[in-house]
């Protein structure tokens, strides 16, 4: 008897996503939706969407999603969690949102040990505004504003938010994963599930940093972009559990 073993999760709508071909955001959206389905918390979840490529994530998820000003996503999540402590609150942020304009919010939310989950999608460029250099752009990476590659003397070093947050006493669980191959995608899903589990058990702040592809602004095919994560990006951003 033939059985349907893989389908679109219930927590996703039928809308066609606006992302470019091969973009890692679609995979992460689906993983979050699958985890929410598996935990059976669709009626309890409130997501906070960022400013960036994922700004209209509320069209793709079939649960409550609100929007925050650029970078202020963890601050909005803090407010919702404190008013509605039995809801499951997560923020979905890109690297321009979390690591640039929202650095203050993420650090202080983590330091206050807010009981929220952060899904941090790191692709190393500003996708929405045209591929400019982000704080997480790797050394030597060519972007719209670093035509000759990122120069550490002019632009500084790539910022490692997960390592920074792991040293704070307020954080409970920090892991860095990637969505470059089926194996890494399955690991990412496990990490997201663990992060939600920590929030449900009231154990504190959890964050999963996910290295995702941006084929358009890396100037590569989607397959080459996945290879770049596995060969180059992991040297700057090593995968694994940083805390918890």
């Amino acid at each position: 008897m033939e059985k349907l073993i893989f389908k679109k999760p219930e927590a996703m709508t039928d809308a066609v996503m606006h992302y470019c071909a091969g973009c890692g955001h679609g995979i992460v959206h689906r993983l979050v939706a699958e985890v929410i389905d598996e935990l059976g918390i669709r009626e309890k979840v409130v997501a906070v969407a960022p400013v960036g490529c994922a700004v209209i994530a509320y069209d793709y998820w079939n649960f409550d999603v609100t929007e925050a000003a650029h970078g202020r996503t963890p601050a909005v999540a803090t407010g919702i969690k404190r008013v509605l402590p039995d809801k499951v609150i997560f923020t979905y942020q890109g690297d321009g949102d979390l690591a640039a304009i929202g650095t203050s919010e993420i650090i202080h939310s983590a330091n206050r040990a807010e009981n929220i989950t952060v899904i941090f999608v790191n692709n190393g460029v500003y996708g929405m505004t045209g591929g400019q250099m982000a704080p997480t752009t790797t050394v030597g990476q060519k972007t719209a504003t670093t035509k000759a590659g990122r120069n550490i003397r002019r632009d500084g070093f790539p910022i490692k938010i997960s390592e920074m947050l792991a040293v704070l006493e307020g954080t409970t669980y920090i892991e860095r994963t990637a969505v470059s191959s089926p194996k890494e995608i399955i690991k990412t899903k496990k990490a997201i599930k663990k992060a939600f589990g920590i929030q449900i058990k009231n154990e504190g702040f959890s964050m999963v940093e996910i290295l995702a592809t941006c084929p358009t602004y890396w100037g590569q095919s989607s397959q080459d972009a996945c290879t770049r994560i596995e060969k180059e990006l992991v040297k700057t951003y090593p995968l694994g559990v940083l805390k918890g």
């Binding site: 033939e2 059985k3 349907l4 073993i5 893989f6 389908k7 679109k8 996703m12 066609v16 996503m17 992302y19 470019c20 071909a21 091969g22 973009c23 890692g24 955001h25 679609g26 995979i27 689906r30 191959s181 089926p182 995608i185 399955i186 084929p215 095919s221 989607s222 397959q223 996945c226």
Partner: protein, 69 residues
Amino acid sequence: MARIKIDKEKCKGCMLCVNVCPKGIIAMSVKLNKKGVHTVGLNRAAREKCTGCAFCAIICPDVCIEVYR
């Protein structure tokens, strides 16, 4: 017998599933969808080889693939 079903109107032709399929069942199609994108399609000669491993569905960023086993 395992099989996959591709939603061609959602497909953007990123080819991640083509590269990840261990049996080489998926290939680029010459046909265009409504978005004007070359989508992926099943290689008819090899479609019986599908084992239902779901690698294509796991990596698909646009959730276009359903797997039956």
